[in-house]
């Protein structure tokens, strides 16, 4: 693999971020550029992952962390195959829930109608879960949660909108 070429091996990018929602617009921009540039996912999916990452990070910051903590975001891409995103927090928020509790809340929210929920409770059940093929929530050894989502490129749901983005033409004459 040449350092200028499309990566054809799994690649991992890690971002450690202070627990402040202030930085999320930068992370969203990065996510959009990452999906556009390093995967075969369409523009539609680049935007969807932007939402998935934003929701997971906001949860880790707000529900999982105290104010002067850090969260860790890991992007793992398997070219032509899948993207996996992991968000980890340290559970320093005194009210932080366990993995089991989070999954319970999410599953309960899934059954609710849009207007049955208050302002909150839509992130995992209505966005993250619907736009990923696999969603895992685990308790971390040292405390806190690890939320891992995976989306496969060759998923039936996805096939309908494979790369019809005409703006990505390289070196055309």
């Amino acid at each position: 693999m040449n350092k200028q070429q499309t990566p054809n091996t799994p690649t991992e990018i890690k971002i450690q971020l202070p627990t402040n929602a202030y930085f999320m617009s930068g992370i969203r921009d990065f996510t959009l550029a990452l999906i556009r540039n390093m995967t075969d996912f369409s523009e539609t999916w680049a935007y969807r992952f932007q939402s998935v990452v934003d929701e997971l990070c906001n949860n880790a910051i707000e529900h999982g962390s105290d104010k002067d903590d850090k969260i860790l975001i890991t992007f793992l891409t398997n070219p032509d195959q899948s993207i996996q995103i992991t968000v980890e927090d340290n559970g320093t928020n005194p009210e932080a829930k366990t993995a089991k509790e989070v999954l319970e809340v999410m599953n309960k929210n899934k059954d609710k109608k849009l207007t049955e929920l208050g302002i909150r409770g839509r992130g995992l059940a209505f966005i993250v879960d619907k736009w990923t093929d696999k969603l895992e929530v685990e308790d971390r050894e040292g405390g806190g949660l690890r939320v891992t989502v995976t989306k496969n490129l060759h998923d039936p749901k996805f096939q309908t909108e494979v790369n019809n983005d005409p703006t990505h033409i390289i070196l055309n004459n």
């Binding site: 929602a21 617009s25 969203r28 935007y47 929920l117 302002i119 909150r120 992130g123 209505f126 966005i127």
Partner: protein
């Protein structure tokens, strides 16, 4: 921090007794600003008489999160309680995609143009 700017204006209605407010948004709505923004909309809703309409123009909104969806859904409920309507106009493809995945399109009117939004008012 994400930036959101908004402009509030009155639209002329064909039925002279019907008030139509238009809120035009520009920017991103996320965890860093949505709690500061929402009260501005609640103020507008509060000041509206019964049988009014609120159109929110999303054309220049490039991002919104699940909490924003929560607020929009609550704006809808509050307007309904006043026999009033909420219409979401001109969302870009990615915003429309978010409206759809959470099922907002099943409950709230979404239009491609402001004219269309007015005609639903």
């Amino acid at each position: 921090m994400a930036d959101i700017t908004y402009t509030i204006s009155d639209l002329i209605s064909v039925q002279s007794d019907k008030k139509i407010k238009l809120i035009t948004l520009e920017g991103q709505l996320d965890e860093s600003n949505v709690d500061a923004f929402a009260p501005k909309v609640y103020e507008v809703i509060e000041a509206l008489p019964e049988n009014s309409s609120l159109i929110i123009d999303f054309e220049k909104v490039s991002y919104l999160n699940s909490k924003s969806i929560g607020y929009i859904s609550d704006f809808f409920t509050q307007l309904q309680a006043k026999n009033s309507k909420l219409i979401l106009a001109k969302p870009a493809a990615n915003i429309r995609d978010i409206f759809n995945v959470v099922g907002l399109d099943q409950v709230i009117s979404i239009t491609q143009t402001i004219e269309e939004a007015k005609s639903l008012s």
